[in-house]
């Protein structure tokens, strides 16, 4: 048997990245570690739409218009594209400081602090910057060893600092940050439309059928037809519960966008209150704020996932302790619906997210999306968005 020359396995940078993300497709796909709720989202959307296309659409296409299923298909594809884009893309993770940069910052901090008496606690590491005539405090991240840029925050579920951190959304299985916020917003918006659409046409379908032939008189000879009432009921139930939360969430994010705020800032009350700083990032004009958030430039990922690691740096790179970055293309990590999201103990960083989503992930009967505490409207015990400690 002739010897087969195996190609030398190339180590890509994503395999050595610290943080608790999982990577698929050789670094092209980046998600959080716990993906159980994301699979639930997929199941609900695909399942409901499949029932709609199978049972409602044939009747509606014939009796009303063929455009109805066509538009539903387009909307469904858009929703899926936005969901996958939100879930699989880099939210805007800031890479950790390399040792030299970390040392440089440490030296600057020590120089700024001056001499400290032995036994005295060093002052908190904060840098003040002036943005649009407002003083904004930049906090130091002990995990990433950087001063976080304004609006950045550390997600303890993913163990990364994310730029323009909004929240960690378990329903999409990823953080929502600068790079994927608009996809997330378009996802909630299009999902609201899809839910309303399916709900409306379910009602129309029921109404038409009851006018046509009497709703409950289903001919037992027609198996497909007799199943329809049950499917319609399932769809209506799913849509009803989804509607309240998703539409509410879309409304909430529309409000945030018009003010150019993030969920994180809203929950912490960064810009509200009399003695607090006013939002320095807002253009004070709703249209301008919306345009900046939704039509702004598409930021590139600064996390080099697919770069090839140089051979000499492989040995010197400290391997991250517990980050199990899984390298499978065809065999993704099994959905982990286990509860505990380990917390990284960081002193001086009171804004670490609690593992409250761990508790929420346990409640598998929930069908509505995660919504912020601000949402009004009847909901079935909303799970808090895992962002930070709730300030209120």
């Amino acid at each position: 048997m002739s010897a087969v020359m195996l190609p030398r396995k190339v180590t890509r940078k994503w395999e050595k990245l610290p943080g608790k993300n999982t990577f698929c497709c050789d670094g092209r796909v980046m998600m959080a570690r716990q993906k159980g709720v994301f699979y639930l989202t997929l199941f609900l959307i695909i399942g409901t739409c499949a029932l709609f296309f199978a049972f409602e659409c044939p009747y509606l296409a014939v009796h009303l218009s063929a455009a109805i299923p066509v538009f539903a298909v387009v909307l469904f594809l858009f929703v899926m594209a936005m969901l996958l884009r939100t879930s699989f893309s880099d939210p805007g993770v800031l890479p950790r400081a390399l040792p030299e940069e970390a040392n440089f910052i440490e030296m600057e901090i020590e120089a700024a602090n001056g001499n400290i008496q032995a036994g005295q606690r060093p002052p908190p590491r904060i840098r003040n910057v002036q943005i649009n005539n407002q003083i904004v405090k930049l906090k130091y991240c002990y995990t990433c060893k950087i001063f976080r840029p304004p609006r950045a925050s550390h997600c303890s579920i993913c163990d990364n600092c994310v730029d323009r951190f909004d929240h960690h959304c378990p329903w999409v299985g990823n953080c929502v940050g600068k790079r994927n916020y608009r996809y997330f917003y378009l996802f909630t918006l299009s999902l609201s439309l899809l839910t309303i659409y399916i709900f409306t046409f379910d009602i129309v379908h029921v109404a038409l059928r009851s006018v046509d032939s009497g709703f409950l008189n289903c001919d037992s000879g027609h198996c497909l037809v007799s199943l329809t009432p049950y499917c319609t009921v399932i769809e209506v139930l799913v849509c009803f519960f989804t509607l309240w939360s998703v539409v509410g969430l879309t409304g909430f994010h529309t409000y945030l966008i018009s003010l150019n705020q993030t969920t994180n800032e809203d929950i912490k009350g960064s810009w509200s209150g009399k003695n607090r700083v006013q939002n320095p990032y807002s253009h004070k004009n709703i249209m301008k704020n919306c345009c900046e958030v939704l039509c702004g430039p598409t930021y590139p990922s600064v996390l080099d996932r697919r770069g090839v690691m140089a051979e000499d740096s492989l040995s010197s790179t400290p391997s991250p302790p517990t980050s199990d970055v899984v390298a499978t293309k065809s065999n993704p990590v099994t959905p982990n619906t286990k509860t505990t999201a380990p917390l990284i103990p960081n002193e001086h960083t009171p804004d670490e997210a609690k593992p409250s989503i761990a508790a929420a992930a346990q409640k598998t009967t929930k069908e509505e999306k995660v919504s912020s505490p601000r949402d009004s409207g009847p909901k079935v015990s909303p799970a808090p968005i895992v962002v930070k400690e709730s300030a209120h």
């Binding site: 594209a81 400081a97 940069e101 904004v136 840029p149 304004p150 996809y183 939704l294 702004g296 430039p297």
Partner: protein
């Protein structure tokens, strides 16, 4: 270039890394990418202040161009949204185009200005757009230099 005391290739082989300076971000105008033009004291003896400031200002201009919100970015955003962002599979975004320009500019600056003075600029994108890292090299032959492994690479993306 061969007659220069240091060119880029020579720099890594015959010189050793002495120190690194990190130019921090300037957040006075918000979250746009902009770097401080304050001249670091470590570079005092190595390069003229005006050359350094020119480099940083040009980089700031490039980043401002990339992040400019105007007609072009709206058009790009709307077009991309209509196609469910699939258009980015075949089209390069404006930001990516400008990043390539920046990479070429840094390469050119390194070759013409910085390497002859024993300095090397690392593209900020390789440091998460947080800092401009400038590596200071000393000749291996010269005395009093702290030797260290030169691990910086300035290859653009």
């Amino acid at each position: 270039m061969a007659t220069e005391f240091h060119n880029l290739q020579e720099l890594r082989h015959s010189a050793s890394l002495a120190n690194k300076v990190f130019i921090q971000r300037d957040y006075s105008e918000g979250t746009v990418c902009k770097f401080q033009t304050k001249f670091p004291s470590e570079l005092d003896s190595r390069i003229e202040k005006t050359l350094f400031e020119d480099t940083v200002k040009t980089l700031n201009n490039y980043y401002a161009e990339a992040e400019k919100i105007g007609g072009h970015s709206y058009l790009e955003g709307c077009l991309a949204c209509i196609t469910a962002y699939l258009i980015f599979l075949c089209m390069e975004t404006r930001y990516e185009k400008v990043l390539k320009k920046i990479s070429r500019y840094i390469q050119e600056q390194n070759e013409k200005i910085y390497a002859p003075r024993g300095l090397l600029i690392t593209d900020p994108i390789e440091r998460g757009m947080r800092v401009i890292e400038i590596s200071i090299y000393e000749d291996r032959g010269s005395s009093g230099s702290s030797s260290g492994s030169s691990t910086t690479s300035s290859s653009g993306r």
